[in-house]
């Protein structure tokens, strides 16, 4: 029960606690790094290097007035912020962190992540719709259009991996990469997946549903206190899920690069998975510091005119090569 095997209580506790702590700490890490990238200090007052800033933020949010607008649809208004963190934590459950470390080992793991990503869009949409505010509605509309569109290419972009590894199971996908990571044969799949994943979790530069320059704060305009906090923490858990999913799908998951394995396979696996995940987490912060938000029509035409053909051609070529090699 308390051993290192998939689904043991120890594993569930470990993944839940580490996943949540990393997601929460990402708020501080992101602000600190954004400060560093733009030659500022960032939060540095609470504790050493400002590391307890998140606790101060959480205290502030919990003690704020939790206001439910009288003109809103209260039932939906309360439910909407809960959906995002729940489904994001559920999709963290299928991620294989190391051999024997993980919460679930589903043979449809990849589809599970997609199902959860599909449900996550309800949080944005219902939140915006229930607020009964024009700006919220505009944000929710943007979110809905963006998520439906980018889900399509996200789905097609990973089909190349399913063809190469012959499985939907994330553990089998990692094991199929022992001879070489999928980043080399699936480079275009990786590009499409990463961009679509960022759009799906509406991270900067794809945070048009929030778009604070035009529509105040978009879908979460009417939210305050911990309800807003749930939207925010859900977004950060989504970022962590994406940063673990990219290594698993394209960079060999827990497999060590160049044979740099050490200790037993769990320790080595956790180290390399952690290193790869951290790289992508920092990378997403860098992207946020470097890029500007596109206009909505640019976002749509970029998706449908560049990403969709690219992912389709990638799928076609992968299928053709695999069939040719099979003879």
């Amino acid at each position: 029960m308390f051993s290192f095997e998939v689904g043991s209580l120890l594993n569930i506790g470990l993944v839940l606690v580490v996943g949540l702590v990393v997601s929460i700490m990402m708020i501080w890490v992101e602000r600190r790094f954004l400060g560093f990238f733009s030659d500022r200090l960032g939060p540095n007052r609470v504790g050493p290097f400002g590391i307890f800033q998140v606790i101060a933020d959480a205290l502030k949010m919990l003690t704020k007035e939790d206001w439910i607008p009288p003109f809103s649809d209260k039932f939906t208004f309360v439910i909407a912020p809960m959906i995002l963190p729940i489904v994001m934590l559920l999709s963290l459950g299928v991620i294989p962190f190391a051999p024997g470390i993980g919460v679930m080992d589903l043979n449809i793991g990849l589809l599970w992540v997609f199902a959860m990503a599909g449900l996550a869009s309800y949080s944005t949409m219902l939140g915006g719709l229930a607020s009964n505010n024009k700006f919220s509605l505009l944000g929710a509309l943007r979110g809905a259009g963006q998520m439906i569109s980018y889900e399509v290419f996200m789905g097609i972009s990973i089909l190349g991996i399913v063809i190469l590894s012959d499985s939907f199971s994330l553990r089998e996908i990692v094991q199929a990469q022992t001879d070489g990571w999928f980043i080399i044969p699936q480079f275009f799949g990786f590009i499409v997946f990463m961009v679509a994943g960022m759009a799906e979790s509406h991270r900067w530069p794809f945070d048009l549903p929030e778009g604070e320059a035009e529509i105040i704060s978009g879908y979460n305009t009417e939210y305050s206190g911990m309800k807003f906090g749930l939207f925010m923490i859900g977004e950060y858990i989504g970022m962590v899920v994406l940063s673990t999913l990219i290594p698993v799908l394209f960079f060999g998951g827990w497999l060590a690069p160049f044979g740099l394995e050490f200790g037993n396979e769990i320790i080595s696996g956790l180290f390399w998975m952690g290193a790869k995940t951290s790289f992508f987490l920092i990378f997403f912060v860098l992207v946020r510091a470097a890029l500007v938000r596109p206009r909505y029509d640019q976002l749509m035409s970029y998706g449908w005119l560049v990403m969709l053909p690219l992912s389709l051609v990638n799928l076609l070529i992968t299928g053709a090569v695999v069939l040719y090699q099979a003879g």
Binding site: T76, I108, L111, A115, S121, A130, A140, L141, A144, I148
Partner: protein, 160 residues
């Protein structure tokens, strides 16, 4: 497993009843999503995880999002709720209730007479693929033609 099955079956029936009786269309949609999710759990307990995942991805994750998207465009407010409430008068229930009751009796009779046990064979993704592109390839082609026709039609309408 059978507890899971009965629990999700009860949830799906209750949430579907709620879908029909809600006057607020957003609430009805939320219950519909719950109903779809519980049907997905039923698929899973019956040994079809692929069908369960597709149920969530396609129905709950895509089609319902489209419904919600259209709903946001329509600007439904209090007038719609009042109209729904007026339409949902008790008189309307009589006909459908009688018909549904007959179906229920038939279903119960069928369940009692036949020895129906839950089949416990897992249907993997590979088998679904082989079935779809083997004996059912004609259905797949027809569905893709239908979708293409829809796509062309939407494109034509959007160009005007």
């Amino acid at each position: 497993m059978s507890i899971l099955f009965y629990a999700s079956a009860i949830i799906s029936v209750l949430s579907t009843i709620m879908v029909i009786t809600r006057v607020n269309v957003v609430h009805a949609l939320l219950y519909f999503i719950v109903s779809l999710l519980s049907v997905a759990v039923i698929f899973y307990t019956l040994g079809a995880p692929m069908a369960a995942a597709l149920e969530v991805i396609v129905y709950a994750g895509a089609i319902m999002v489209m419904f919600l998207f259209v709903m946001m465009m329509l600007n439904l407010g209090q007038p719609t709720i009042d109209q729904e409430r007026a339409w949902l008068s008790p008189n309307v229930w009589i006909g459908p209730s009688i018909l549904a009751a007959i179906l229920l009796v038939e279903l119960l009779l069928g369940l009692m007479t036949t020895d129906a046990t839950i089949a416990h064979t897992m249907v993997e993704a590979k088998e679904i693929g082989i079935a779809l592109f083997g004996p059912y390839v004609l259905a797949v082609e027809l569905a893709s033609m239908l979708l293409l026709a829809g796509l062309v039609g939407a494109f034509h309408l959007a160009r005007k």
